[in-house]
Symmetry: C2
Subunit: 345 residues, 2 copies
DNA sequence: ATCGTTTATGAAAACGTTTTCAGCGGATGA
DNA sequence: TCATCCGCTGAAAACGTTTTCATAAACGAT
């Protein structure tokens, strides 16, 4: 009674064989009603819980999935995680979360750990993007994987759910241009980072389309820390003529950028227009409220979970390999004013 | 080669028995140097990784710990998690994270799930506090557990790491009183929530000590959602005379409170003084910057991990059962002005 | 030289399940 | 009536380790 009851105890208590207990409890066919009720009663009486380890060992499936993140302290990531984890939990999966602390070289070790735990699926929002060991690892092992906002590696069972960053960045640029801006800066995450790449390319293309000469020095790329973003933002602001608008690609980057603007005494929404990515509490409560490219993080997480479950069950049956979710531009006070650029006369 | 190599493959390849392989790889005594090198070479050659499930099943230990949170989207929680998880990872533990979505009635089910996965330890930052099923569950099962900022349940192997909320709340009250405030409001989380209890009691005691009559209607308690906090804050602000200062106990609550103040057109730092708990990005970047009770979340997480590992290894050897970490009051512009209360003349 | 002790190794049991295999009784079909 | 099949059940194998047990060789001490 103090120790855990095993299937043998149940079998003994119900005066049947262990195999019958297993069949009865797992709703196998060809088991008589009488035996089933007897077993169920015995199981309840002994408060029997199947031993997870033995079950998984025999079954060859852990019913748990691994989640790799750069940092769970990032509000965007944690929101996605929460949504995905809920969907997975309702399907009987537990998720073990591991963080690479935004160190690209740790990604592969984290994945290896997860794989050694024999997870039945992987959701990856890793730090590294370039064709690195971690990508090769995913390719080699055959674990069903969905990558979050990344270019999926080739593989029979790897999927991706992405956000359509480009179209909203384009809208943002055109919005700023319409407000009279001609010197628009850009700060993003690391160059190799997929979302940054998408946004930066869209930024360039939109500028070209608007026939605004590209000033390379107005684009900077920071690591995923406030301090680095702060430093890069300061560097960006040393250019002349000063940019009159700034597109900030990433919520951690935004923290650093705001600090830098404060530091340089540039008033957001008056001296400089600001467009950020991802609508977090800060962007709504900031005075002035900041224009933002919003996406449904909940949907993102849920979609990832759905895709992964399909990948696990369909066993390779083809469905959409990569799903692209929409984004939208939400214009707020930080950019909703006309540029009065005196440097251009 | 395509399938995973088992210990039998290694044994066969090295021409020894499986038991010898196990002993050699686990650094057991009484194994000859020759055999050891032979085994190690074979293992490397086959890229042998011990099967986690079989290992754990036999060993009776999973080397993984369960982490229960109300919501990982809460920045305070996620920061603590990141710190704890890192410490645990370096000790060879993986952590499976489960969120009760702030529903107290789900706590117990989450714990049951974790226990059924046979985790070797538990870190609990659950939603419920009162003597509920989840607490009883922790008590009954004998899994080493550390509770985060909670009153630990009685039990041989349960520990707690708490924050000294009280002393900083007292400081905050005295600080506000010194600035001339006599109508100080309080918004906290749910009444049964341990940190809320600590803070509220300290608030009451400090007011009494300052010989300020307690106005019950100036204290309100909200669920862990911005919308509820918003509603409660609005209700609070309908009292007359209006409070000239507000202590907000919780970062999610703060979001709602700020929205409410904005809604009522009350300027923080001029019309009303504000003190919040936990120093998040928002409190630093808000204009005006908001006074805050800060604590070292990293230390909190690391301490929890350390305590848990001790609890797992020492096997009941007594050490400090509950550790209380300090907090400090950081005064910023939101409260650093003198109250000009005209309702009192 | 003999005995007891230590070292080194292999065979087999154990962990707690699920699944395969085999057997039994009864029903079905010719 | 007999062969066949089907529903139901139990015995045993299997999953991949670790650990216990047994045994042979080496070794030190009397």
């Amino acid at each position: 009674m103090s120790q855990k009851a095993t299937i043998h105890d149940v079998a003994h208590h119900a005066r049947v064989s262990v195999s019958s207990v297993s069949r009865a409890l797992n709703n196998y066919p060809h088991v008589s009603e009488a035996l089933k009720t007897r077993v169920v009663e015995a199981a309840e009486e002994l408060d029997y819980q199947p031993a997870f380890l033995a079950h998984s060992l025999r079954r060859g499936e852990t019913n748990s999935i691994g989640f790799l993140v750069g940092s769970i302290a990032n509000p965007v990531i944690s929101t996605i995680y929460e949504a995905a984890a809920e969907a997975l939990a309702t399907n009987g999966y537990a998720v073990t979360l591991v963080s690479s602390r935004n160190q690209a070289d740790l990604d592969s070790a984290c994945l290896r750990l997860l794989a050694s735990r024999q997870v039945s699926g992987l959701i990856v929002s890793s730090a590294s993007e370039s064709p690195q060991p971690s990508r090769r690892f995913i390719q080699e092992t055959n674990i069903p994987t969905v990558m979050l906002d990344r270019e999926p590696v080739a593989g029979e069972r790897v999927f991706a759910v992405q956000s359509d960053h480009a179209s909203s960045i384009r809208k943002a640029v055109f919005h700023l241009v319409k407000k009279g801006h001609r010197h628009i800066g850009f700060i993003g995450g690391p160059r190799g980072f997929y979302p940054t790449q998408q946004r930066y390319r869209a930024y360039q293309e939109a500028l070209a389309e608007a026939r605004i000469p590209l000033r390379d020095e107005l684009a900077r790329f920071a690591a995923f820390t406030e301090t680095d973003a702060f430093a890069e933002a300061l560097l960006l602001m040393r250019n002349r003529p000063l940019p009159t608008a700034l597109i900030v690609a990433g919520n951690i980057i935004l923290i650093g950028a705001l600090q830098a603007l404060k530091d340089r005494q540039l008033a957001v929404g008056r001296d400089i227009a600001l467009v950020a990515c991802d609508d977090i509490h800060l962007t709504q409560l900031h005075r002035p409220a900041v224009t933002v490219i919003r996406r449904d993080l909940n949907l993102l997480g849920k979609t990832a979970a759905r895709l992964l479950l399909q990948g696990i069950q369909n066993n390779g049956n083809r469905s959409d390999r990569v799903i692209k979710l929409p984004t939208q531009l939400v214009i707020r006070e930080s950019s909703n004013f006309h540029c009065r650029d005196d440097s251009q006369g």
